[in-house]
Symmetry: C2
Subunit: 218 residues, 2 copies
DNA sequence: ACAAAAATTGACGGCCCGTCACCAATCTAT
DNA sequence: ATAGATTGGTGACGGGCCGTCAATTTTTGT
């Protein structure tokens, strides 16, 4: 797109490879827009290519179906957040750091990325979709492995790592969902809530001073 | 609506109403089977009616689309579990009873109904679908209202009821998902895990004596 | 028994799907 | 620079699904 000097990254890419990358991005951008407008269920491959200067046949040189496009979009998200979560957990010296860092990192990411996040959910009608791409699943398993490692090191008690991972994932996604639906997104508050729940249960949850919590939906 | 005598159960249904009910169930049964076989995304309305003695046009006398059929199936599930959960929460005299009863009721229901539950999830490829039908959403809001009521009665601390509801839902669904994937489904263990998490956090979680938890997936 | 009402049927036009023969753009070697 | 080889874009095509609707069958009420 830009940057011709200074960063001599050069462009050893032939014209061929160049348009390949460009077309792929063209399709992904169009798909993001169309999914957001029509919802996943209602959009067709034709809708996507129509939002593009390309011909219908070209689509199939890049993706097999709209499902695969959706997965690619989700993978981009997973690819962006996984390293952040992994690095954060690596530095955790206590259970509290492990948990609070995980939730805070996740909530801040979602708050930034909430457009994408809502698109993925607010799929037109009442139907919500979630793809567990290899990248996403790998992120989950990485979390479970880190829990198991923490157990072996005596940081965590010897709990059911699979269930604990599931609980963290469930709370993270479901609370994040409510967070982005509120008029003022507060990732710190959301992370604090989730962290307190995992550290000491309901009794140690923060008290709702600002009860925007009453009605919930924005 | 009805009620003409004491026990008007009888069958005052005319032939008309009778086949209407019958056809609807015919379609729903076929849909359950086809969804389970092909996954939601891949099945077409034609697939469903083909698994039925009816003609294609008839389908549209009963449902607008496959989405609506899917919602009807999910609503049946929600309709079955909601009263159980509500009645259970009504009798709760403490936070612990409220929470443990909720999770145990849910996990036992899922364990019984796991075929249906897996169908809804194991949608062919990696794509998982969840419909928030009015019935399902109402169940969530009922839970939130009961939490708010419990807070007003001083049973619960004054926490963010919306987030707490989200956390309960997230843990319930995600842990249930792992539970049904294990070779031996143990709803009591799953409920105990979730309950302990909410009552005292990670530190009070049950220790994994039978570490089927290691690998997770069956 | 008969007419009115209701529900079923399957064929139809329109659209989407995925493919493929054709062609243009790019690359490689001289 | 030129030409042949290769890669990749194009859009038309057969097949299938969608949702509708006029015709037909079934049920109801008299």
């Amino acid at each position: 797109m830009d940057s011709t000097l200074v960063k001599p990254r050069a462009e050893p890419l032939g014209k061929r490879e160049q348009t390949k990358v460009q077309n792929r991005e063209l399709i992904l951008d169009a798909a993001r827009k169309v999914f957001a407008e029509l919802g996943f269920g209602a959009t067709t491959v034709r809708d996507i290519i129509r939002a593009t200067p390309l011909a219908s046949g070209t689509f199939y040189n890049y993706f097999k179906s709209k499902e695969e496009v959706f997965q690619a979009i989700q993978d981009d998200v997973a690819l962006a957040i996984r390293p952040r979560l992994r690095d954060q957990r690596k530095t955790a010296k206590s259970v509290e750091e492990f948990i609070s860092g995980t939730f805070l990192t996740f909530m801040e990411f979602v708050a930034e990325d909430h457009t994408n996040f809502r698109t993925m959910r607010h799929s037109a009608d009442t139907t919500r979709i979630r793809v567990d791409t290899p990248e996403v699943v790998a992120g989950f398993e990485e979390l479970r492995e880190d829990i198991e490692k923490a157990i072996q090191e005596g940081l965590f008690p010897p709990v059911d790592a699979d269930y604990l991972m599931a609980a963290i994932v469930g709370v993270a996604f479901e609370v994040a969902e409510r967070m982005v639906q509120r008029e003022t997104r507060d990732p710190v508050a959301a992370a604090n809530f989730a962290t307190a729940l995992f550290m000491g249960g309901i009794r140690t949850l923060p008290h709702a001073d600002h009860p925007a919590a009453r009605t919930g939906t924005a």
